[in-house]
């Protein structure tokens, strides 16, 4: 496949997207109507309290759930259409590796499912990039939680998707490795021009990796704050010590705290 045949990174348009789940104890509104436009090629971080519906929003964009109301357009197409041609990738909270496949087999599975040729050298390069060199033949049961999560990230990136959905991809990764992955992986997808959505609980990570941070209110998910991150890519390691970076982090934290305070007031 030549470079020109690769589709452009898509713009994502959410128009009054809402999701309500039917549960035995009645309907639960997971996502309140959300309208937002995510620019092509940008990385957007979604932060918000646990259980606020961020993951549901990601699953809606992936087409794994259907919205109860509203529409989602990915580069003008429906999520189902994009999914049908394997035009997106997602890393789940749970690494979801198949236990009977080796690490290499799990990463290559994404290529197989996407009906793309399996380039073993490319698979191994990506495995090395997430720091799992030497474990290519290992079964998931032989890897630690953090290693499994890194394998899932490799699987997610191997198809070179134009749209990347990452649901707390570094949650179980140790602090040192997380720092390295935070430096190296975004470069990989940002150099390719990929639209990326990243759910994270780390305010610092959200600001460091993204071009824009969306802060969500407690459930049902609603955008409480929309904060632009004006730093150019690739970002220098000492950026995190700059005042501008720390100010942005404070801004995000304040928006998060305000959402929490509102929820308490409503509850009382």
């Amino acid at each position: 496949m030549t470079r020109s045949a690769v589709p452009e990174a898509p713009e994502i348009v959410l128009d009054a997207v809402a999701k309500t789940f039917d549960t035995p104890s009645g309907p639960v509104e997971a996502v309140a109507p959300v309208s937002v436009r995510l620019a092509a090629g940008q990385t957007t971080a979604l932060v918000g309290p646990s259980g606020c519906g961020k993951s549901t929003l990601l699953r809606l964009i992936a087409g794994l759930e259907a919205p109860s109301a509203g529409t989602i357009a990915i580069g003008g197409e429906s999520p189902d259409a994009v999914r049908a041609r394997a035009g997106l990738s997602m890393a789940f909270q749970d690494p979801s590796l198949l236990p009977w496949r080796s690490l290499r087999g799990n990463v290559a599975l994404a290529l197989k499912l996407a009906r793309k040729p399996v380039d073993r050298a490319a698979v191994d390069r990506l495995i090395a990039l997430v720091g799992l060199e030497g474990f290519e033949g290992a079964r998931p049961a032989e890897l630690s939680g953090g290693m499994r999560q890194r394998a899932a990230i490799a699987r997610c990136l191997v198809t070179e998707p134009r749209l990347l959905l990452l649901d707390e991809p570094f949650g179980a990764v140790d602090e040192l490795t997380r720092g390295r992955l935070n430096r190296e992986l975004p470069a990989l997808w940002q150099a390719r021009g990929t639209t990326a959505l990243l759910v994270t609980h780390s305010v610092r990570e959200a600001v460091l990796l993204s071009d824009r941070v969306l802060v969500f209110s407690p459930r049902p998910a609603q955008v409480a704050a929309d904060i632009a991150v004006p730093f150019a890519h690739p970002r220098a390691p000492d950026l995190t010590r700059s005042n501008r970076f720390l100010d942005l982090c404070d801004q995000v934290s304040a928006a998060l705290a305000q959402g929490e305070a509102t929820r308490r007031m409503v509850a009382e």
């Binding site: 794994l64 999914r83 009977w100 198809t159």
Partner: protein, 511 residues
Amino acid sequence: MPSWLPGAMLLIAAWEVAARGLAGRYLLAGPVDVAVHAWANAGLLSRAAAITLENALWGLILGNLAAVALALVALALPRLAGVVAGLALVVFCLPLVATAPILRVLFGPGPGPQITIAALAVYYTTFIPLMVGLRAAPASWFDLIRLYGRGGATALVQVRAMAALPYLVAGLQIAAPAAILGAMIGEFTGADRGLGVLVIRAMRGLDVTATWTLATISAGVAMAAFAAVGALGRRLTPDRPEVLLTPPPATAAGPMARLAVGLLTVLAVLVLWWGAMELAGLNRFFAKRPDDVWRFLVTAPQAAAARATLGAAMAETLAWTLPGYVVGLALGAGLAAALVLFPAAAGSVMPLAVALRSVPIVTTAPLIVLALGRGAAGTMAIVAVMTSFPALVACLQGLRQAPGQVLDVFAAYGARPWQRLVHARLPAMLPAFFAAARMLVPAAVLAVTVAEWLATGRGMGHLMALSASTSNYNMLWSATALLAAVSALGYAGVAAVERRVLARYAPEQVS
């Protein structure tokens, strides 16, 4: 030294001592007698064993193919899964004592009935774990498949088939000895070769040594089959989880939906029964339809007499089955709980119990009848023996399911072993216990009817054998239908209790 060896040696020693000590009072042959007899008749016995094994193997293959096909149908048509499972259960509950002579009429001489009965004896024990196994994957694995635009077929190949493999192996392992039992029951109905034929001959001639030798050989073959499938499974799925915890396959939720599934199943059974007979163009003289049974039991002039005969036989059979079943379950569960308090003994008992579980009922029944006579004690002992070993194995496996962290909490507070047993392990054991209790309902009925047929000359087993030999096919089909219905209802009854108990103690199992 393998962990089972001391237990096995102890058992053989006890057997020899018992045979010598009780000689004269009970009809027993010890291991030495058995070995001498086996050596003297090595040629005859090995030829017969080869025939039986061949039939059992064919039955095993066909039965398991049927199980896989049924499980795939249930998977593809989730709305019909309950009815498919119900149909599978009713066919499994057909009393082999009655189906065997009917199949003999149908097939004539040759291995047809042996193979069919072996297949009938095995398909359900594979079908149930497969139903669980094909669904035993986290939702995110299926999300992964959908994420790249692939559908159900890919999920079946990439996820379900592999996730179900350990369940298939677990089912196959139980099925292997069951196939040998099925083949032997088929051989009882007028085959000319095989271990079953020799068993019948030895029993008719009251040849105690030959009966014990044949029982030992069949048990050994069954245990070897169990071990062989286990070894194969360990190669195929080296890191397989323990999978005998089989909750009831996910069927309709709510009592009304379950009632609807039940009624649909009854309807499906009647339609299939009638349709199969008509399609095959089978002679009404021996291939009775549902309406024949209805006439015989309800509208015919002698219907009342027929009902009385059937009712009396059923009452007699249930009177032996129920106590034996309850005692067997209690023995199995009690022994398992006791073994947890003495873990050193469990290592030796578990493999032995697993092996003894695969001993076919047709070999145990004659021995127990020889030893305890044709009365209540003998029959109840047969049922108890047939139910207690599977219950013991299931409960031991269940007891091990107690989550390590929960046990750590107990350990952290210095809880006593019995506190751990009562508060952590017994609740964890319940799903396995009920899974066994359900599957053992048809097994207990089979055990009683086989005993009644081969030895005691009472109850439904005797009535069915008598009806078959006098070509009273109306009575034979009626007895078959009644017994299958009672077994299936018993199974459903245990499942209902199971749902109530597990909803409290293991809600994750019944969601």
